[in-house]
């Protein structure tokens, strides 16, 4: 089933990407071509084939649960577009006076 514009806009909203109208058109075409290509996986019998999450995985090694040195706060904050010396300062997640969801929930 070919994608329509709303599929691209929905993915862009999930990914927090603002797209221009002409970008939506281009990406719709590109994603369609890609999804047509990946149909070559459909004829494989994958019954009883386990998924591979990462190569040679015995699972990540865990380090000892001990406190250790971390990046000093000043170094962590140094590159921030805005900070108050203690925390990162971000735009408001919820705007007053509107019904718009500014933050986490999906559209």
């Amino acid at each position: 089933m070919p994608l329509d514009e709303s599929d691209v806009r929905a993915a862009a909203a999930l990914a927090r990407l603002a797209l221009r109208d002409e970008e939506v058109e281009t990406f719709q075409r590109d994603l369609d071509a890609f999804l047509a290509h990946v149909r070559d996986l459909e004829d494989l019998d994958l019954t009883d084939v386990p998924p591979m999450l990462a190569p040679h995985a015995e699972g990540p090694r865990l380090r000892a649960d001990e406190p250790r040195e971390s990046l000093p706060r000043e170094a962590a904050l140094a590159a921030a577009p805005a900070h108050d010396g203690e925390s990162f300062v971000m735009p408001a997640a919820i705007r007053s006076g509107t019904d718009r969801d500014g933050g986490g929930a999906e559209r």
Binding site: R16, L17, E23, P55, H56, A75, P91
Partner: protein, 474 residues
């Protein structure tokens, strides 16, 4: 030998000359910096003149003081700009990290510096390592030093071009789906993708975390062995780095191939450009001449790698790149609220990065996840099993690194699928997490080189060094 000639002779030659006092680290570094300043191929994003000279002077002072020198003492190296470098700007060729100066070094960089290497410059790349041509960099494309109308390959195109143009004898790249091997092939240098987990990913700006590997590029196989030996090994800061003993890589380059069985990937030669196929087969014939036995090998699911990889890697990227949101580092677009700020900041990604974020987000969406992402993960298992079966019969596998020589700049603009197909030969080893090397295979077309790709079982890089050295030009 003068500094310029040493740079051309390679990493091991430079280190030896510094060690023996035939040249100072400062003279080598100045020669490298002069070449970096004259770079006409867009290979570099930042030259660290001050830092490099200070590091070189430290090596020279250590030598004068009688201290023992590291394996890379005084050797100028270029580092791909998706590896964090303390105090040196690191952009990964994206506007979202423009002006960012990391507070720490990547683990691979720490190990190079500890061995005495002199970091001279940061190499250009496809934006966030997403591309096969180094054309998607937000700061302009890289041209191939062998023919500036052609691409250097990607995404480590700046690293490959830097080595090919002699700016430095060695470079670091990163390989997710072929990003060290393919540019090495296109620029006529050696490029190694180590086993997944062989080199720490700490400080490598993540693209697809179950694929990403840091790997060296250099002018000959022995040089890549020296660079890997310095970088390899477990690291407490990367839980996926492997706690597997590190071989003695450099002696392996003299081991030869007598008694080795080389699996020849016949089907890869059918899809490759005939001139590329002929050049690569000539190298494989050299291996036979040096005592290896050739057998034909087929990887039944390799052709599905393109679909599997371009579902899995963008899915991982769509998650990893969520951190590039303008909140903690990098520039932030002003907006009325948080959501608008995220969206406006991330609108500064280039088209290829947006395409892959959308692709990955789509592959992970409820309702599609099992059919797309889940299926691709199972195909990944099949590709790995294909290799297991092949390595039951042979020691290494051989084929072309890329189906063509370097293509003209702009050849695939507007046709991303055609560009993705350029990765066809490098993707299977990436899916299986196996080590692979690209060795120059001589002039194939218009005087441009082809690449011979050798693949080995996990953590058997030594076999690649033995076979690679036997196949490389004398």
């Amino acid at each position: 030998m003068k500094a310029d000639a040493l740079l051309a002779a390679g990493v091991v030659a430079c280190a030896g000359a510094v060690q023996e006092g035939r040249v100072s680290a400062r003279a080598l570094t100045e020669a490298s910096l002069a070449r970096c300043a004259a770079d006409a191929h867009g290979a570099l994003l930042h030259v660290d003149t001050e830092g490099a000279l200070a590091a070189a002077d430290q090596v020279d002072a250590a030598r004068r003081g009688g201290a023992s020198l590291g394996a890379l003492a005084g050797v100028p190296v270029v580092v791909k700009d998706n590896l964090c470098t303390r105090g040196v700007p690191t952009t990964a060729a994206t506007r979202l990290l423009e002006g960012w100066v990391p507070p720490y070094d990547a683990a691979a960089v720490t190990r190079l510096r500890a061995a005495g290497a002199v970091l001279v410059a940061k190499a250009n790349l496809d934006e966030l390592a997403m591309g096969s041509s180094s054309e998607t960099s937000a700061f302009g494309p890289v041209a191939n030093p062998l023919d500036p109308s052609r691409v250097p390959g990607g995404s480590s195109g700046g690293s490959a071009a830097a080595v090919a143009a002699g700016l430095a004898p060695g470079a670091l790249g990163s390989d997710t789906g072929g990003s060290v091997r393919q540019p090495a092939a296109f620029c006529g240098v050696v490029g190694l993708k180590p086993t997944y987990g062989r080199v720490s990913r700490h400080g490598l700006i993540a693209f697809a975390s179950s694929f990403d590997v840091v790997g060296p590029l250099a002018r000959n196989v022995r040089d890549t062995a020296r660079l890997l030996a310095v970088m390899a090994g477990a690291d407490a800061q990367d839980a996926t780095s492997a706690d597997v003993p590190v071989d003695r890589y450099e002696p392996a380059t003299d081991a030869g191939v007598r008694g080795m069985t080389v699996g020849v990937l016949r089907s890869a030669f059918e899809t490759a450009d005939p001139k590329v196929a002929a050049a690569v087969l000539e190298r494989i014939a050299r291996l036979e001449g040096a005592g290896a036995t050739l057998v034909d090998v087929h990887l039944p699911h390799a052709a599905r790698s393109l679909s599997a990889y371009y579902l899995l890697a963008p899915a991982e990227a769509s998650s990893n790149l969520a951190r590039l949101d303008g909140m903690r580092f990098g520039p932030r677009a002003s907006a009325r609220d948080l959501r608008e700020s995220y969206e406006a900041t991330r609108a500064r990604f280039g088209p290829e990065v947006k395409r892959r974020i959308l692709l990955g987000t789509f592959a992970l969406r409820a309702g599609y996840r099992d059919a797309l992402y889940g299926r691709a993960q199972r195909v990944r298992t099949l590709v790995a099993r294909d290799y297991d079966a092949a390595f039951a019969r042979c020691d290494v596998l051989a084929g072309p690194t890329a189906p063509t020589v370097a293509f003209p700049l702009g050849a695939f603009s507007g046709d991303p699928m055609a560009m993705y197909r350029a990765d066809l030969e490098t993707l299977p080893a990436s899916l299986a997490g196996l080590p692979a090397i690209s060795v120059p295979a001589g002039a194939a077309d218009d005087g441009l080189p082809a690449g011979l790709q050798l693949v080995a079982p996990a953590f058997q890089e030594s076999r690649l060094f033995a076979a690679g050295a036997a196949a490389e030009p004398a």
